[in-house]
């Protein structure tokens, strides 16, 4: 079964409906570059338990209704960061959103809309080209840089020094933040929140010696000064990283020449 007209009713009777399940409508933005000129919406009425994750519903649709439905997912437990998508208009990991949190008021039909994340080219269905995202990530040199002779023992760091950048070590590079940023949508040359978060992780690491290099990169026209503090990134982060705060800390480091 390939892409069909929007009005088609999909046969979802093959999906096993466990006891206690209810029917929800999953409205997915579909796009097949070999057939479609532009994306369109398709709806699937599927059985769902309140404890199901949105990813379960997508897997059921893929396994029992339409095998061509494309999306990324790997660990399915909110660690790998593969299944970032726009769920009900908000960037989330499909494996961390439970159906019970999306249910409509009593007696009303629940509709869950699922679309690819914005600002990155959609390749197929919910699957986007992540290369611009990773290009910005690589550009901030997200690895330890230390000069001089290699130490013969571990690089020691105090608990307080480690705490300084603890928040930004949590990033799983899912692109929820970057693809929720209006400045990133408008012009793809902005580094985006995720790249700045990963720069922050090394800029404020006492063992790293290239803070200045990274600050220089982020001081450029496409760097932190394009941030408008809309807080979309902080709201979107599935790991609860205070992304906007991290960006502000980089701005402050640039402003006062102090890390």
């Amino acid at each position: 079964m390939t892409a069909v007209a929007e009005s088609t009713v999909h046969d979802t009777s093959q999906i096993p409906a466990p006891e206690g399940s209810l029917t929800v409508t999953v409205k997915i933005q579909r796009f097949n570059p070999e057939i479609d000129d532009e994306p369109h919406w398709e709806s699937y009425d599927v059985p769902a338990l309140p404890t199901d994750r949105v990813l379960n519903l997508l897997m059921n649709i893929k396994n029992y209704v339409d095998g061509t439905l494309s999306f990324r997912r790997s660990c399915a437990h909110g660690i790998c960061g593969s299944d970032a998508m726009q769920i009900n208009g908000i960037n989330r990991l499909a494996c961390k959103v439970l159906v019970k949190d999306l249910l409509a008021k009593k007696g009303k039909q629940t509709t869950i809309t699922v679309a690819p994340i914005k600002g990155l080219p959609t390749m197929k269905d919910l699957y986007v080209d992540m290369e611009p995202f990773f290009e910005a990530y690589r550009a901030v040199k997200p690895y330890l840089i230390a000069y001089g002779n290699e130490p013969t023992r571990e690089r020691i760091q105090s608990a307080a020094d480690r705490e300084r950048f603890d928040d930004t070590t949590k990033c799983i590079l899912c692109a929820c933040c970057t693809s929720s940023c209006p400045v990133y949508w408008a012009d793809g040359s902005y580094f985006g929140p995720a790249a700045i978060v990963n720069a922050h992780r090394f800029i404020f690491d006492s063992r790293d010696e290239a803070s200045e290099e990274r600050l220089d990169i982020l001081n450029d026209a496409e760097g932190v000064w394009r941030c408008r503090t809309t807080f979309n990134c902080t709201d979107a982060c599935p790991r609860g990283i205070q992304v906007t705060k991290a960006i502000q800390e980089v701005k402050r480091a640039l402003l006062f020449k102090r890390v």
Binding site: P33, E131, A186, N219, D220, A221, W225, R226, L255
Partner: protein
């Protein structure tokens, strides 16, 4: 695949796509300027509005003599001049970032910015000229 961007990316997989950083503090200074000028403008503009529209009789007492009387004092000249410069640069810089965000082509971006800079320059020069060369004794013609 119909997508042409992926074909282009494969041409030179390792070519750098981001121009090297320019390593200057222009964006930093313009960001700081926006904060400071914004604070100053809150005082200047609200004070201006209060004097012009609310204080004794408000807008009804404004005429040539009123303006001439105000500009005979260097304090009000300085107030109006700094308001002019700060508002122009603050607003111009804001529009510059908006153009950077929303213009899709480099050409559009360039011409919109040129239009903006020319407009800013004309208003700044004209306004400054008026504040400094204002002559209350214009002969009635």
């Amino acid at each position: 695949m119909a997508d042409s961007t992926s074909a282009l990316a494969l041409d030179k997989p390792r070519s750098p796509r981001r121009p090297a950083a320019r390593r200057n503090n222009f964006e930093l200074y313009s960001w700081v300027f926006m904060r400071i000028s914004g604070l100053a403008l809150v005082v200047l503009v609200l004070g201006h509005l209060f004097i012009m529209n609310i204080l004794d009789g408000g807008v009804h007492r404004i005429n040539f003599a009123f303006v001439a009387g105000r500009w005979s004092s260097p304090f009000w000249q300085f107030w109006d001049l700094s308001m002019l410069w700060l508002a122009q640069l603050h607003g111009g810089n804001g529009l510059r970032t908006i153009i950077d965000d929303y213009a899709r082509k480099d050409n559009t971006r360039f011409w919109l910015k040129m239009l903006l800079y020319v407009a800013m320059a004309v208003i700044l020069v004209l306004g400054t000229l008026v504040v400094f060369t204002f002559d209350p004794d214009i002969p009635a013609s």
